[in-house]
């Protein structure tokens, strides 16, 4: 039986300097880390080198450079197109400005918003990027679609279904992200059948949870977007390949599309007091004395207090043969 589940609840703040935090709760299937089936985590990036990630459930964590954390965790920034360029971090205007065959597209009955379309190169692969903007919401991106040009297969879709205005800017507060992957029908016949079945099940959205608080208009738009993000199909010129929602060929089912419902507390101001006083807040986390972190910068396990100490540099050790 298929069901929609609440993937994660998260409180997050991002500052233009690059600092960010998020505190999240999500269900887990890991027996080793399970506590009533819910994991709680806190992560904070200092905007420079260190991301402090702490698992509040098992009371362990790590201090490490951030990597692709902000790219993978679906947020309103994705709906603004901030992470479409996973290779170089260009914004949507920067991507389109560099694109070939750039042209305008007209509204259509299914997606009644005008937009721009062009070819972009990401990691040496050519994608067709289509961005529709919503004139009723300050020309903010409404839909963003990245399609692999050689196979005609979608890679990522982003659709905003609700906005709220802050300081003259329309910020996405609800939306849907779809991610797709490719599979060979010949090699994975069971996977193909499973992906098709999942797409059929996903079209029954009456059991969709986690969209509370939406009005009828937003809910309808969200469900339409989810249907688009559940598409499964054959690839152009490669009939053996098919695309399907990421994970859709597995027995456990796909983990996309994802639906985001956000409440924006503050914009263009201090995100939250958590960003203002991260260390004090961090020290106040409900962690027992046995809590520890793996501090990559010191290459060893450390207690919370010492993991918070600033990094200090010294001259790198030299081989005896090189010493003067």
């Amino acid at each position: 039986m298929a069901a929609w589940v609440l993937a994660e609840t998260r409180r997050a703040g991002v500052e233009h300097s690059g600092r960010w935090f998020n505190q999240s709760e999500f269900p887990t299937s890991s027996d080793a880390e399970e506590e009533n089936g819910i994991m709680r985590a806190y992560r904070y990036f200092d905007g420079e080198d260190r991301m402090f990630g702490f698992d509040l459930t098992v009371r362990r964590g790590k201090v490490a450079p951030p990597d692709r954390d902000m790219l993978t965790t679906f947020s309103p920034f994705h709906l603004l197109g901030r992470y479409v360029d996973f290779s170089q971090g260009r914004t949507i205007p920067e991507l389109l400005a560099d694109s070939e065959h750039l042209h305008t597209i007209d509204p259509d009955p299914d997606q009644p918003w005008p937009g721009l379309c062009g070819d972009v190169r990401l990691l040496e692969v050519t994608f067709t990027l289509t961005v529709r903007v919503d004139p009723a919401h300050g020309y903010a991106p409404r839909t963003i679609l990245l399609v692999r040009k050689d196979f005609g297969a979608p890679l990522e879709s982003l659709e905003t279904t609700r906005y709220k205005q802050f300081d003259g800017i329309w910020v996405p507060t609800a939306g849907v992200r779809g991610l797709w992957t490719l599979l060979s029908k010949r090699d994975r016949q069971d996977g193909y059948a499973r992906a098709v079945e999942w797409a059929r099940l996903a079209s029954d959205l009456e059991s969709l949870n986690g969209v509370g608080g939406m009005n009828e208009k937003t809910r309808t738009a969200t469900l339409q977007s989810v249907r688009r993000a559940c598409a499964t199909g054959s690839c152009t010129g490669e009939p053996d390949l098919f695309y399907h929602p990421m994970g859709g060929s597995e027995q456990s089912g796909p983990f996309t599309p994802e639906v985001l419902v956000a409440t924006i507390v503050s914009c263009n101001g201090a995100a939250t007091e958590w960003l203002q006083t991260p260390v004090e807040r961090w020290s106040a986390l409900p962690a027992p004395p046995t809590a520890w972190m793996f501090d990559l910068f010191r290459g060893r396990q450390a207690e919370l207090s010492s993991a918070l100490e600033p990094i200090r540099f010294e001259d790198a050790p030299m081989e005896k043969a090189e010493l003067p």
Partner: protein, 341 residues
């Protein structure tokens, strides 16, 4: 990173209480595995694989026999990592018939002891239960470099250090193993290898420089770590922040709007705005700085469209100080929309 993304899931019933007469298994199995009512484990590859090479593939196969007098259905529910795949060789198991579960783990360069688990379900006409299969190992890591990419934001003109970290688990770092440093980001060509106080097995490849004028910049850090045969490449994306911020961050003219006010305020210590420059002088846009009010730190920029819009396009307003330095960039878009008939 996959777990937080999971949106679909199968509904899993809690495992029933363990029977007192569970068969003894010599392997160090996770508890639930030998407590299944429906399946008895009759053969299993070892759970512990010890130290294994990064990139290698671990396969653990477990064979069960159906203890019940009726058919059971088996399926894999979940794995703890995208690096782990698992499947049964059949999905329907008759009474006294065998079924094999195969778990495959692709070993990633994650330091320290690792354990991946596979959760599976066995169900029959009146009940179902879950079991868990574990694979334990420790990747053999010579060294690791982090992060795989650097994304930074910093105020224009400020001094910035870009650090890449090389970590040798359980081994004392030696600077001589890192050489041929280079960085293609403008202004960041000078690199050095630095050690961390109280971090004997970590070195930083550090490039320092002054952040260029506001805008987006890309480059790559390269360095060689012996004994690897190819250099490490770390892409760098630097967004240079203007010292003043604008609210709203831009302006759009698409209808009756003829003028809008943009509030400017300093975000970093800097000079006062004194001039305006349009990147596209043909744009039907004009901008004026309203006179400064000594009692306020904010300034107001008045942006107007000149006449009727007959075309679509955009420009960027540069607000400059008296030396011509950019204080803030304000994008402007304009649309000539068709008139209602």
């Amino acid at each position: 990173m996959i777990l937080p993304l999971i949106l679909f899931a199968l509904l899993v019933q809690p495992a029933p209480p363990q029977p007192a007469d569970s068969p003894a298994i010599t392997d160090t199995l996770v508890k639930e595995q030998r407590s299944l009512q429906s399946l008895e484990l009759v053969d299993a590859d070892p759970e512990e694989h010890g130290r294994v090479a990064v990139g290698s593939r671990l396969i653990r196969r477990l064979t069960f026999v159906n203890k019940l007098d009726r058919e059971v259905f088996v399926e894999v529910l979940s794995t703890t990592c995208g690096c782990t795949k698992a499947s049964f060789d059949t999905l329907r198991v008759g009474p006294a018939s065998y079924v094999a579960l195969t778990a495959i783990v692709d070993v990633a360069a994650t330091p320290g002891p690792q354990m991946q688990t596979v959760r599976f379900k066995s169900s029959w006409n009146v009940a179902d239960e879950t079991g868990v299969c574990a694979v334990k190992y420790e990747p053999e890591i010579d060294y690791e470099t982090l992060p795989s990419m650097i994304r930074r934001s910093a105020p224009a003109g400020s001094n910035l250090q870009l650090n890449t970290w090389v970590h040798w688990p359980g081994e004392v770092a030696k600077r001589q193993r890192i050489h041929d440093l280079s960085c293609s980001l403008p202004g960041f060509s000078h690199g050095a290898v630095r050690a961390i106080t109280d971090g004997p097995n970590v070195l930083a490849v550090q490039f320092s420089g002054a952040v260029p004028p506001p805008g987006a910049y890309r480059g790559d850090i390269y360095f060689q770590v012996d004994p690897a045969d190819k250099p490490v490449r770390v892409p760098v994306f630097l967004r240079s922040l203007a010292p003043w911020v604008a609210t709203p961050g831009g302006a759009i003219f698409d209808g009756p709007l003829t003028v809008c006010a943009v509030e400017l305020k300093p975000d970093q210590p800097s000079a006062q705005p004194s001039a305006i420059r349009l990147r596209n002088p043909d744009a039907p846009i004009r901008a004026f700085l309203e006179p400064a009010d000594a009692a306020k730190s904010v300034r107001t920029l008045r942006v107007e469209r000149s006449g009727e819009l007959t075309t679509c396009g955009g420009t960027v307003i540069e607000v400059l100080d008296s030396d011509g330095n950019i204080l803030v960039l304000i994008p402007v878009a304009y649309f000539a929309l068709p008139r209602e008939p």
